[in-house]
Every structure is written in structure tokens, then in C-alpha cells.
Symmetry: C2
Subunit: 328 residues, 2 copies
């Protein structure tokens, strides 16, 4: 019996076949929720055949849904329709799979449970000592303590995890920089930020050299390409400037200040969690996770999930994890 | 010779005829910069005839323009085209009017100069002692010291004013709440915020009762109406919750916490500016300005600009001020 794992988010859909094939597509769910089913059908159709879908999600938090219950039901509808006769299993934060009907009856169990699937899988790989899974993605950072092969998180829902600090709403691509304010250091002064979506964290990490240019990708704050030149223009707009007023070197210094702020936010959330024997880093922001781990847990070993999953598998790690868990 | 004053912003266009007629229209310039000329022509056409246009702007900061120079030129093109044979005068932060050609030659002088026109007019009304003009608008707060009838600001451009604290990028309608983070108190805990535009300050002030419902206005984060019920749903989404998880009373308590945060941000920017004899409050957020003035300047008299201009005039105060200055 072969399985495809699906991680259904609000900005990206990720699928991983148990045999190792992985696929990610951008899909702005909030702007067209009615197209989710077709988008999922295309995604699954592009992978080898399977007998079962294993599903986890975060898409229910999109504000096109009035409540999480509405969002969960919408995702379950789409997943069960494309499954047809195939079995559908939904991961819940109790640490097991349930049927779609069971998930509908208690929607908060499967809402935003994708981190839990990944953490459960990772916990099974590191049975000894105390580990921290630090997944820095495009939008969020998950900080999940693991102990004796189990997930040892204190919070389970998004709301609880924002309160415990196990979910930090900061990622390396999509976070609007106003969320890193209200101010930043520039030219040796404290500088207020504009509360506009003029630039995102992708712009910061382009200028610091942590992320690569994507000249054909215009999914940026101003619709211009993800190149260093345009990123610099976007970045300095956050402090009310433009590239006639500020040099590229100064824009790079500003990017370094934002990088330091992001690093500090993550490290500050980790420190109260205590000591760890190892930090397992994953996600598109693994570079930032490594730096945060070295800062907050200087004595811990740093393990890269990508070394175990491969870079492609790591990109869709939650989908891959849920597929593996279903196949066990 | 009669004058219409124009305050050309990125989200609103405001016009005031010297005889007292005032008009404001919402216009999302960043999404359709090519339509500015037609929108301005309609706006001016709806007021009594005039011989002269007096112009101030903030629209140049929209990210549809690569630089402020590009934005200023675009605004000047539109204004001079609709003016036809009529004179066009542009307010600059030197405290005088220049011709459109002079403005093009030094674009930073007229970029985001609307606060300066209002402050100049207000300064002329209060010649004695030290005053603070505190204008809390939909998006920003201007904090302008006035002394002996003159504008005594330390910064002139947006960038300088963000560094001096004379511009606080916080208003009572359009500010995404993520800019008030990274965390907020809820249920007696510190709660991380989602870095998504799920709710704006309008939602906060709807729930605190400071602003009225607008059931037919859907210019909100989720496209649903500006009513208290929808505002509560938007607000609790910021902490990863929905109205099945959080009561309306708790949502109101959360709104009060955001209100206190906003008040503190403004008052904290005022305190380093020293003592004032009076605080002149204006803008759609005058209610918040009064509270911030009482907190930061307990010994100052509070004067409402609306008492001098009327509520309608106060709504388009910068347009009205630039018209009056041109007519002097």
C-alpha cells in the first residue's frame, strides 16, 4: 500500500510520495479557496500513483475562512474529493491519524498539525537525550522540544504555541519587515519603520547573501523581481528612503541589522526552553536556524534534517513526514 | 483669485476649496497610478471653480514608484494636466510654495510635505509659547513641535522624521496589527502575534468603541464589513484563535491591550520632545491624540483643530491648510 503525504498550507501545497518523489507548488489559497481541489488534483497527479493520502494542513488559518472549523472542513472536502476511492488519513496533534469524519468532529486537533507530524517523525530518529527541532520556514519558525523519542511541546494549537513561544511567526521569505519593528538601527541611530508591506524577509536574506536571486519570480512586496537591486530598493523604503538617498552599502548594512533582529527573536524564544543535547534544523531557513542554535544552545550538536532527507525532501518535510508516518 | 488645496496621498485624495467646501475620496494609487489624473479631475470638478491649485502630497512613497523622484514627477504630471491654464503651486518643507518645475528639480522638498503645510498653518494660529501639533491619521502620526509661530521640527523628509520620532508610522485605521507586535498580553500571558495582515487598527478601535461601524465598507483585512462582530473575528486571528475559541468579551479585552500599546507608542515618542504649553490635536484619530497628550504632556492645554476647522474641514486638514496658505 503506497502513500502520498500532503501538507496543505495557505501559500504552498506540498506533496511527497512514500517512494521519495516530492513536489511543491505555490497556491494563494486565500484568494481562490474554490480552486483548492483542482490544484491538489494536479499536484497529486504529477506524482506516481498511490493507494492512500495522508494529510496535514495549516491552510485553515487563512482569513477566507470565518473559523478554523470552516477552514478544516474546506480542506477535508477537497482532499476527500480528489482521493476518490482511496483512503484518506488525517494527522492530529494527539500523535495519530484519524478519518476525515473524526477530524471534522474535532477540527482543532488537525488544524495546523503539520509541525507535529514532522516533530513526531524526527523524534523517532533521535531516541536519546533532549532534542530541539528548529524548523525555520518561509513564514514561521517552529521550536519543538523532543524527549525520549516523543514530542514534548507544551502547546498544541497555534494559539497555545504562540503563547508558549514554540511558534514564532517569523520566516525567511514572507514575513513583512514591519513585524520586525517598530524600529531598527541605521546610520548609528534608532530609526522608526514604516508600517507598510514595502519589503519582506526575502529581501533581507537576498542582501545578506543567505538566499539566492530569483530574477523571474515577482512574488515580492512591490511585484518587482527577487534580485538584490530591487531588494535594496524595497528595503530602504521601510525607513522612508530610496536608492537616491541611501547607497547600496548602506542598504546592505540595514539588511544585516534586520538579520540580527530576526536571529535575536528566534534565539530569545529558544533560551527559556532550557538545555538541549542536539538541535535538529530544517526548513528553507536552516541557515538562520543554525545561527540561532549556536547562539542559544552553544553546547548542543547541530543536526541538519536535510542531511537525512536530502535537500528536496527537506523542502516538503512535513508532507514527507506524514507520508512516512502513514506508511509505518 | 480662488484656490483649491489638494492633498494627494497613496490611499486618499483630499481637496479643500478656499471657500470651505471639502471633499475626500479613497483612491488606491499604488494599484492604478495611471488613473490618478482622472481621479483628481473628478475630485476637483466636484468642488466650486477655482483659479489656482495648491498641492501637497505623500503619494510619492507608494512602491509603484521606484524612487521618490519618480513618484513626485508622476503626481506633478497629474496635477499640472488637470490644472490646464490655472496656476499650480507646490508646498515645500522650506515653508513656501514653488512652481512644478522647481519642485521637479528638488523632489525631496515636496515629498511628504503635507504635514508641514498643516503645521505651518497651525503655527500661525498659536504665536505664543511652545505647541505640539499631534495629528493622528488613518496610517501615521505626526508630532510637530511649533515655537513662536514657526514649525520647529528637527526632521523634514520621511526618513529624517522616522529617525527623530516626529513621524510615528501608526494610525487608527490602516495600520496592520503585526506592526504593534511582536507580542501582546492576552489571558494574563504574553502572546506572540501572527505576522499576517489579519487585522488593522480600525478593528481595534471599533471594539473599543472609539470608531463607528461602517457596515457597507469592506475595506478591511479580510474583505468583510467594518462591524464589531467581524472586527472581533479578525482581531483574534492575530493570536491564532477564532470566535469558537475566544469569547467576544475576551476579544474586547484584546482590543484594549492593542489600544494601550498604540497609546504607549505615541506617548513614548512625545516624551523626549520636552514640555509644551499646548497640544493641538487633529486627524481621524484625535481621540487617541487626546489620550496620548494627557499621558505625555499632563500640564499642557489640549486644543482641538476640529474646533477651529469644523469636523469636515479637519478631515481634509492638510488640503485645507495648503489652500489657506496659498490664499494668504
Amino acid at each position: 500500500m503506497s502513500t502520498i503525504g500532503l501538507d496543505i498550507g495557505g501559500a504552498n501545497l506540498k506533496a511527497a510520495h512514500e517512494d521519495g518523489a516530492v513536489r511543491t507548488v505555490a497556491f494563494a489559497l486565500w484568494s481562490a479557496p474554490e480552486r483548492l481541489e483542482a490544484a491538489l488534483a494536479r499536484l497529486v497527479g504529477a506524482l506516481p500513483p498511490c493507494d492512500r493520502l495522508a494529510v496535514t494542513m495549516t491552510a485553515e488559518l487563512c482569513d477566507c475562512f470565518e473559523t478554523k472549523r470552516d477552514g478544516v472542513n474546506h480542506v477535508l472536502d477537497a482532499a476527500t474529493k480528489i482521493a476518490g476511492e482511496r483512503e484518506v488519513r488525517i494527522w492530529i496533534t494527539d500523535g495519530c491519524f484519524v478519518s476525515p469524519d473524526e477530524a471534522r468532529a474535532a477540527p482543532l486537533g488537525c488544524a495546523a498539525a503539520n509541525w507535529h507530524a514532522l516533530a513526531t517523525w524526527a523524534a523517532g530518529r533521535h531516541l536519546e537525550g533532549r532534542s530541539l527541532l528548529m524548523d525555520v520556514g518561509s513564514t514561521t519558525t517552529d521550536l519543538i522540544p523532543l524527549a525520549r523519542g516523543c514530542v514534548a511541546a507544551r502547546g498544541l494549537t497555534d494559539a497555545e504555541r504562540l503563547a508558549t513561544g514554540e511558534l514564532v511567526y517569523l520566516g525567511v521569505r514572507r514575513t513583512p519587515l514591519m513585524a520586525l519593528g517598530p524600529s531598527i538601527g541605521f546610520r548609528e541611530r534608532v530609526h522608526g519603520l514604516m508600517a507598510e508591506r514595502f519589503a519582506d524577509t526575502y529581501d533581507v536574506f537576498l542582501l545578506t547573501g543567505d538566499l539566492d536571486e530569483r530574477p523571474h519570480d515577482t512574488d515580492s512586496a512591490d511585484g518587482r523581481p527577487l534580485t538584490r537591486g530591487h531588494a535594496a530598493a524595497r528595503l530602504v523604503r521601510m525607513i522612508g528612503a530610496d536608492l537616491e538617498m541611501v547607497s547600496h552599502d548602506e542598504a546592505s548594512a540595514l539588511a544585516e541589522a534586520f538579520r540580527a533582529r530576526a536571529l535575536d527573536r528566534i534565539a530569545s524564544a529558544v533560551r527559556p526552553m532550557g538545555e538541549f543535547d542536539r538541535v535538529i534544523v530544517s526548513g528553507g531557513g536552516a541557515f538562520l536556524a543554525v545561527a540561532a542554535a549556536r547562539s542559544a544552545c552553544p553546547n548542543a550538536a547541530v543536526v541538519r534534517l536535510a542531511d537525512e532527507l536530502g535537500e528536496v525532501g527537506a523542502e516538503a518535510a512535513c508532507a514527507w513526514a506524514v507520508a512516512r508516518l502513514a506508511a509505518q
